[in-house]
């Protein structure tokens, strides 16, 4: 078995990283894989589309927020750079539309007041138990990091290629697929009452009834008001909610990679120069000169 050193090193690196991709595969899948959609934030130059995030926010606000909280986001985040790009004034006005709990006041009571920029998005239910009671025992998960908390198994060798293609959008692809994936239950399958059949949800029985349908939400910018559009926009919004600094991360990444490649190149030639004498005249090596 003979292999040049470089190939061996490549083998070792590739092998180790193949190994490293494994925990993501822990789940078995017995249904179709979510289709890979095109996202503006995918790839090394990816960034969020503010228009899409604003549409996604509208969908969240009008539909999802009735059951799903967004606990880790504040109203001020809507005006942060690299996001939906609302102005500070718009975000402030949006915030004041909400009623936020505050207190206790001097009488010892809690009271409600209009939201401010610094406030977090209020949750639809007071606690988990109230949420379950209103949803047939199922707990609608908080959506702050949902897009990073969901994925699907890619299988070998795709999970190896994913390192190089930078495929990190499993979450939004999965969420969009679930939103579009409601269908008639196959006759052979038994499902508990109150559950809904979904092609992409693990186990195929999901507690949430189809939340979105055509013409449910109207958009100001003329985007199509159909399920396909809604599922894409809200998934993009959820990705932003989970990873608000993605644009800045990839931008800094480009600068760092360019810098490191330049540095590595310089160090390579420096190494060659330093070693030139030793390599050229190996027999002349005396006192560690």
């Amino acid at each position: 078995m003979t292999m040049p050193t470089r190939t061996l090193r490549l083998f070792a690196f590739a092998g180790v990283f193949t190994l490293a991709g494994l925990p993501a595969l822990a789940q078995e899948h017995d249904g179709p894989q979510p289709p890979r959609l095109k996202w503006s934030f995918a790839g090394p130059f990816g960034k969020y589309d503010p228009g899409q995030l604003q549409r996604g926010f509208k969908i969240y606000k009008e539909v999802c927020a009735n059951c799903h909280s967004l606990n880790l986001l504040s109203f001020r985040n809507l005006a942060d750079p690299g996001g939906p790009d609302f102005s500070v004034a718009q975000a402030d006005s949006l915030a004041s539309d909400y009623k936020v709990k505050d207190g206790p006041n001097d009488a010892g009571e809690m009271f409600e007041r209009p939201g401010r920029l610094a406030d977090r998005f209020p949750a639809p239910f007071a606690n988990d138990q109230a949420a379950r009671a209103a949803n047939g025992g199922a707990l609608p998960p908080d959506m702050s990091v949902l897009a990073k908390a969901r994925t699907y198994e890619r299988g070998f060798p795709w999970f190896v290629f994913d390192i190089f293609t930078q495929y990190q959008e499993q979450g939004p692809d999965y969420i969009a697929a679930v939103l579009r994936g409601y269908a008639e239950k196959p006759k052979a399958m038994t499902m508990a009452p109150g559950m809904n059949y979904n092609m992409y949800y693990p186990g195929h029985a999901i507690g949430m009834p189809p939340p979105l349908s055509d013409n449910q939400v109207t958009f100001d910018d003329g985007a199509p008001a159909n399920l396909e559009q809604y599922s894409k926009d809200v998934s993009a919004f959820l990705m932003w909610a989970a990873e608000p600094h993605l644009t800045a991360r990839k931008r800094l990444g480009l600068q760092v990679m360019v810098f490191l490649i330049v540095l590595a190149g310089l160090l390579y030639f420096t190494k060659k120069k330093v070693w030139a004498d030793v390599k050229a005249h190996p027999e002349k090596l005396e006192d560690n000169a």
Binding site: V16, L19, Q27, L72, R249, A264, E286
Partner: protein, 420 residues
């Protein structure tokens, strides 16, 4: 390798200091003038890379600790605060989490290098054993750190790993409760794990000092396995080894940066973005990738106690490597049969790693058992026997001779060398 120091302090202050605390002289003789074999290849740069990564982890860790809250009710949200609100918090967090993975990539390459070139053989046994201790400390530190975000995998991984100790008869259950500080993994567990996670890297740093000291007493191994015999065999550490280490460190950082900036969650698990829920176990509990081979070994054995023993045994057996390998020839370069078993061992480890992520059912269990048998057989059967029966290639008389004849590519047959 110690002669009298060639260091000459420059300037009045350095002369004054050197007489009282000769640290500059120590640095000079250890990392500047230190004679290094001239034929080291790039596999030898990973020791320096490991020291660099330890520094990265400690610095990013200390800085993250300024914002993290180690309380079961607040830990998950404090990590999200770091990701969202702290200036560059997202960068520091991803550096630390991916840094841990890169740390393990480097350590596995470093260990496989040692196994291939016989760097564990006499007189480097203590060096090797210190390395095994460092590896164990790294595994402990990584495990403790992974629990801190208090996600589903953090919580349940902690539950599974601490439950290992219940396998021991009599003392098992009280021991587990001692570790937990309660009746299950909970807030007391998180707090003590945080304390230990902060402590262990500094223990690692201390053992690294011993590791480098042990190395410098006996000197580096090299691809020929032949010790340096004269000044013709070595070059000064600075600039020759320094610049080589720096170059590969930059390349390593490119890979590191690729993960941090473009695929920061690839090496992690999506379930750890779900806050810990003691009432719901994830469908498949998986440890971080660097523990997967040992996880596969554990699950391959159907008996609970024996599985735990096999798990710990698979790591501890490394410490006996210097005595299990009976070959008189040090470097794998001149051991053609050993080479094949070695690469098979590498493939075996990768295979076990893949199986560690699979559910323990059907063909996966059978495969894991076969690979576990090979894993242990490599140490207990193959290496001892190879040393006795293998026909090795002729070893060069010196490093300089090997270099003069022409740098022998790994695996190619060496041209016949003159005797004497």
């Amino acid at each position: 390798m110690s002669g009298h120091s060639t260091y000459q302090p420059q300037g009045a202050f350095m002369k004054w200091l050197e007489r009282r605390l000769p640290i500059a002289g120590l640095m000079h003789s250890s990392f500047v003038a230190y004679p290094t074999p001239r034929n080291l290849n790039y596999w030898w740069t990973f020791g320096g890379i490991l020291s660099f990564m330890l520094g990265v982890q400690i610095i990013t860790g200390v800085v993250l600790a300024m914002h993290y809250t180690a309380h079961a009710d607040m830990a998950f949200n404090s990590v999200e605060t770091i990701m969202r609100d702290v200036n560059y918090g997202w960068l520091l967090r991803y550096l630390h989490s991916n840094g841990a993975s890169m740390f393990f990539v480097a350590v596995y390459i470093h260990m496989f290098r040692g196994m291939y070139y016989g760097s564990y053989k006499e007189p480097r046994e203590v060096l090797w054993i210190l390395g095994v201790i460092l590896y164990l400390l790294m595994m402990a530190t990584g495990f403790l750190g992974y629990t801190l975000p208090w996600g589903q995998m953090s919580y349940w991984g902690a539950t599974v790993i601490t439950n290992f100790f219940s396998a021991f008869p009599l003392i098992g259950d009280p021991l587990v409760m001692l570790l937990w500080g309660g009746y299950a993994v909970g807030n007391p567990t998180l707090n003590r794990f945080y304390s230990l996670h902060y402590l262990l890297p500094f223990v690692i740093a201390g053992v690294v000092v011993l590791h480098i000291w042990a190395l410098h007493v006996v000197g580096q191994n090299n691809p020929t396995g032949v010790d340096p015999k004269s000044a013709k065999d070595t070059v000064a550490f600075t600039p020759y080894a320094t610049v080589k280490d720096s170059f590969l460190m930059a390349v390593f950082c490119i890979v590191f940066a690729w993960f941090v900036f473009y695929v920061p969650n690839y090496l992690g698990h999506a379930d750890n973005y779900i806050p810990a829920n003691p009432a719901v176990t994830p469908q498949h509990i998986v440890p971080e990738w660097y523990y997967l081979p040992f996880y596969a070994i554990l699950r391959a054995i159907p008996n609970k106690l024996l599985g735990v023993c096999a798990l710990f045994g698979s790591i501890l057996i490394l410490a006996f490597l210097p005595w299990l390998d009976t070959s008189r020839v040090r470097s794998g370069r001149y051991r053609p049969l050993f080479k094949q078993f070695f690469w098979l061992f590498v493939v075996c480890c990768l295979g076990l790693g893949w199986l560690g992520a699979k559910p323990p059912e059907g063909v996966y269990v059978i495969a894991a058992r076969i690979l576990t048998i090979y894993y242990f057989a490599y140490f207990i059967v193959v290496l001892p026997l190879l040393g006795i029966f293998e026909k090795t290639r002729p070893v060069p008389n010196s490093i300089a001779e090997a270099v003069l004849v022409g740098d022998v590519p790994l695996g190619a047959s060496a041209p016949p060398l003159r005797h004497g």
